[in-house]
Symmetry: C2
Subunit: 681 residues, 2 copies
């Protein structure tokens, strides 16, 4: 079915005039500068809502102005955050039969060398945990996935109701674990970092290597927001005048206590335990920094580079490796402006706050400006952690960006020792070839970072790029020190990227993307790539359904409408690009019209009614699985309807829902095809 | 508060080049032609879903092609309609204590002279009634409004539960009466036309005058769709492949039998009655006719003139007086094209089907093309019945169209005898001056016709115009023969508009609006008028809340954020129009950018989350009241939250909802202001 397609040579039009500036822009971004930015922004903890993070916001604003942006503003919101009680710490105890606490978990991680005098390191906690001191036996629930609870209940006959459960981190988003524990009736949940998931083979714990020490633990929020942003103001920005719901009506808050511990503590907990959780929810002011470069020709078209600034502690990797890269991109753009350059379209740079509390700063800004973004935003490039491994590039993006990503990586050098003269594309291709065609692997966007509201709610073409581990051989979750106090400047400088050339390469990829999107006369988006991806996704969701051949027959479930819609889209996309080849690029209105079609293509895949039960996830082609926020699923409505369908209480109803979702997907793809056809019937 | 504003001389830019063509276009539309179209389209009944209405669609397609449109297509949908059972008629009986039927209501209306041989006249019925033969005493519930049921239950101590109720037509949409009856627990509802509401003083019943004869009755659907379109496919077009919900899950169907009768029958029903209702719901194919004129400069900008074609019987007034006007506009446009004219933007002409069954044809087409309409539609002008009285013009439209409406009516002559040399504006002004400023009265859009999906769901600037009665002195509901078999060609020709100059005037108003919207280089939309209207609405909703001063105090209810938002909008609108005065109209991209701002202003007032419980009503400034679909309310979210608040079970919760709605309204107005500001921060 795919033959012929993959050999197609693709190119996108970058426009001649700006090509030399693209080269200048990429060259301007330098490893040494990124190293300097990373060092500067990781000296102190800068938790969302803290004075340090406000200070950092002001510093960034000042430096972006100095670099030469047209304007930079701090944009505050007042939203629900969550902090440990400073005088009444959280911990887990083992209690004896008299209720005496005979062992308590650590109240903090051992502080790494050089940071002994730092105050305001928030201890490991699960943000937005309920308060409480439940006490009971502990039930081990593996990763706390839906299938783990099914296995416990159905195969092992273990009932979690009324118990405290302990789940290891990894595989799925921690908020999904907490939700599953609540659904199973647990009255508390302990999360721990298992060495099997947080230590790479043959690597020493930090500071001698980059593995997680036994005393380290993973912070993180445990919300189930499904894209709602601030839990008190779903759908609307958390401004001063905004109505706030009560805590009882808030979106996504867990109803049970949750707490994370390290593996040194975890080995002790084989007894009856007591959780002591005193974490407070409080409305807190946070600050996004938003910088603008006005477009010279189409100021009302926006290209956004955004990444978060807030960190659980120092944020050496998450997020400052990314924020340092954004900073360098802003500096380079400012440098070019001093040489007389100004992009065709408007560039927006964002330093988001409170990402760690549920993508809050970015979501509130998206809510605040939803209308103009919907009308004017061309693309959103995300800039969270720029590195999570030492192997090669990783890109997740919308299919229409595939070709541009390949083009840009061909203009960037490989950062790897021994690969002098090789492009990043070649190095990446060699290390991570796609199983489907002869090109580097690019994945789907899931969630878990600030692109979520822009891509999944608003339907703005989005992408992200970072340096990563070898996904075929390195099986630990995330990177070992994730969200621990050991995410320092030094871990990057000593282990992840001593030359800072990997971060430089990521800077050039992210920077090259926004440059081309902002400056090419015709938008460098490839609709035929979208068509190819849709064909692939339709086939794979069909294969998933085919696991139930008898039911498919019994309930007359057909994917014909979806395949037909994908074919319609494929024809429309091919015809569109053929017409594009004939475009008179000297006709400003004609160029604007095709650019509008390109810009609004991603929008066409969204549905204001949202996915079932998830009104803020509006993208019909891509959304996180209901069972794991981190995993991006294609045709998520159909996927969720098929998930665990053999356990459905009412199979007729369950298969009706599958059919309804197929119909919605087919309609959405057909309607997207319509947007690419000639604008008059 | 308003002083100064109303004296402002407003003009909107029509562009010089097309002015002479506007004049030609208006002149081209002639009374004699409209008369001819009306005669042609009213010979036979043409109920939605009938062969006759398909034949009529084909005829219209053929004539529109002949007139010179670029393309005309029939667009079918398969949707739930409702028809009486031909072999088992509906009627109401009086039964004696043995259950014998001692009186039955008529099975049909007496057919008017000249139509005796016509077959396929559908008898009066309530489309989508439940089937059933309930039997009980009859309780008279006046108009069946919320307040009527309250009065019965609370003041008169009459419980409707388990009873059959009888309500007179008028004041509110019949579907709301049925819903109220269901909420009161009634097991059936009879609707009747009271002479007090359907006969004008001193006027004879048809055929000697234009009043409703005693044997006439009002057909109509009794759905509560709240904008959902086809009850089986809410939110999605009813195409062949579309998933259809079961009848149990359908949107808006009444659960009780409903039947309409005339006043001759009604006087008999003072006893125990039996309803005999056998109406069938069935999925039926319907056809919209869609015609296109490709825009010369901006083909991707659409101006729509749409009105329905289906009629309950002959449709002499509803809808053919409107459809004849559309036909004449198409003919005139075709004539101009033959002279070399082509509009700057694309013109779309629509002949909708199945309006009478719940605005179904127009809503499904809006659902089918929601994405492109959202991106490309500049305005929608509705063309239902062009006449409902003999007094003066009536216009309901979005505030941004006020100025254009006034401008156009100044270019049209008064159709009234004895007003030679007077413009339509002058005649209208004299007869219906606004209470708020010295200009003719223009009202808000409610619902009840095909603009609903375009305006309230999609946020496309919309308006309607027709000839009407004297609203200060003529108090009957609608026009007397509404939805009866007596809506013939002859009633228009003999009574409503013998010279057809009133319909000609309406044709020129509707035609002038679409002409100017499609052809003016800068869109003739007035944001300052919107600001003035918002100020007025904010004041009036505040006055409504002030009826509860103690509660406002107790629950700290403030409208400050709304007033502040309206002020922000007012400043932004004024500044926008000032910048517009400086616009370099020779810069094609600059013109496009401001036009985009003008086009998307109405969109900015919509919220994808919709109004509470009404997901397809997305306009935050205008929507029908929850209590009467016909009445357009401003700030409907706040209005509904305040409705009947003194009867709230939980006042704290009820006032919290008021506060939440104020916050949403303020945010929406602020965000609309943002769309008018310079496009870069």
């Amino acid at each position: 079915m795919f033959s012929g397609w993959f050999a197609r040579p693709t190119t996108v039009n970058h426009g001649h005039a700006s090509k030399s500036f693209l080269h200048d822009f990429l060259d301007e971004m330098q490893a040494e500068n990124i190293k300097h930015h990373l060092r500067k922004f990781t000296r102190l903890p800068h938790l969302a809502g803290s004075q340090q993070n406000l200070d950092l916001a002001k510093q960034i604003r000042a430096e972006w102005m100095e670099f030469g942006l047209d304007s930079v503003e701090l944009v505050p919101y007042d939203m629900l955050l969550s902090y440990p009680n400073k005088t009444n710490p959280n911990y887990i105890s083992i209690v004896d039969h008299l209720g005496n606490e005979i062992f308590n978990t650590s109240l903090a991680e051992p502080v790494p060398e050089g940071y002994e005098d730092v105050t305001d390191i928030v201890p490991p906690y699960s943000a937005f945990s309920a308060k409480g001191q439940p006490e009971d036996e502990l039930v081990y629930v593996n990763y706390g996935r839906t299938e783990d609870f099914f296995k416990l209940e159905r195969e092992l006959g273990i009932n979690c109701s009324g118990k405290i459960v302990i789940a290891r981190y990894g595989k799925i988003f921690r908020g999904n674990k907490v939700k599953n524990a609540m659904l199973a009736g647990a009255k508390g949940i302990v999360l721990f970092s298992d060495p099997a998931d947080y230590c790479a083979d043959g690597v020493e714990p930090y500071p001698d290597g980059w593995n997680l020490p036994g005393g380290g633990a993973q912070r993180g929020n445990v919300l189930n927001l499904n894209g709602a942003g601030d839990p008190l103001t779903p759908g609307y920005p958390a401004k001063e005048y905004t109505y706030r719901s009560s805590l009882e009506d808030a979106v996504g808050l867990p109803k049970i206590p949750v707490h994370p511990i390290g593996y040194h503590d975890a080995v002790h907990l084989l007894h009856k335990v007591r959780m002591n959780i005193h974490t407070n929810n409080q409305v807190t002011r946070i600050y996004n920094v938003i910088g603008w470069i006005r477009g010279a020709v189409e100021p009302d078209r926006y290209v956004i580079l955004g990444g978060h600034r807030d960190a659980w502690v120092f944020g050496g990797i998450d997020p400052v490796s990314g924020a340092a890269v954004v900073h360098e991109s802003v500096r380079a753009a400012g440098k070019l402006m001093k040489k007389g350059w100004r992009p065709r379209r408007t560039l927006i740079f964002a330093s988001w706050d409170a990402e760690e509390f549920g993508l809050l700063g970015s979501t509130e800004w998206a809510e605040d400006h939803a209308r103009v973004l919907q009308e004017r935003a061309v693309a959103y490039i995300n800039a969270d952690s720029a590195i999570e491994g030492m192997y090669t590039l990783r890109v997740d993006c919308t299919p229409s960006l595939h070709t541009l990503v390949y083009d840009i990586t061909k203009k960037v050098s490989s950062p790897e020792d021994g690969e002098e003269g090789m492009t990043l594309y070649q190095s990446w291709h060699k290390r991570d070839n796609s199983t489907e065609r002869d090109a580097p692997w690019i994945s789907k966007l899931g969630s878990g970072s600030d692109f979520e509201a822009y891509f999944i709610r608003l339907g703005i073409a989005s992408g992200r790029a970072r340096y990563t581990k070898n996904r075929k051989t390195e099986h630990y979750s995330s990177y070992p020190v994730y969200h621990s106090v050991y995410e320092t400047y030094e871990i990057v400088e000593r282990f992840y990227d001593p030359s800072f050339r990997r971060l430089e390469a990521v800077a050039r990829v992210r920077g090259g993307l926004i440059f081309s999107l902002a400056d090419s006369p015709v938008l460098p988006l490839d609709c035929v790539e979208y068509a190819m991806s849709l064909t692939k996704y339709a086939n794979s969701i069909y294969q998933l359904a085919l696991k139930h051949p008898a039911a498919m027959e019994q309930y007359s479930v057909s994917f014909d409408s979806l395949f037909s819609a994908v074919e319609n889209f494929t024809v429309a996309a091919r015809d569109f690009h053929q017409r594009l080849d004939q475009l008179d690029t000297s006709n400003a209105l004609a160029v604007r019209m095709v650019n509008d079609q390109l810009m609004y293509l991603e929008r066409a895949f969204t549905d204001p009614l949202g996915l079932p039960g998830r009104p803020f996830y509006r993208h019909i082609i891509f959304a996180p699985s209901s069972h794991n926020k981190y995993a991006g699923e294609s045709f998520p409505g159909i996927y969720d309807a098929l998930f665990d369908i053999e356990n459905a209480v009412d199979p007729q109803k369950a298969w009706d829902e599958v059919k309804r979702q197929i119909s919605i997907a087919a309609f959405t793809v057909n309607t997207a095809a319509e947007t690419l056809r000639p604008v008059v019937s």
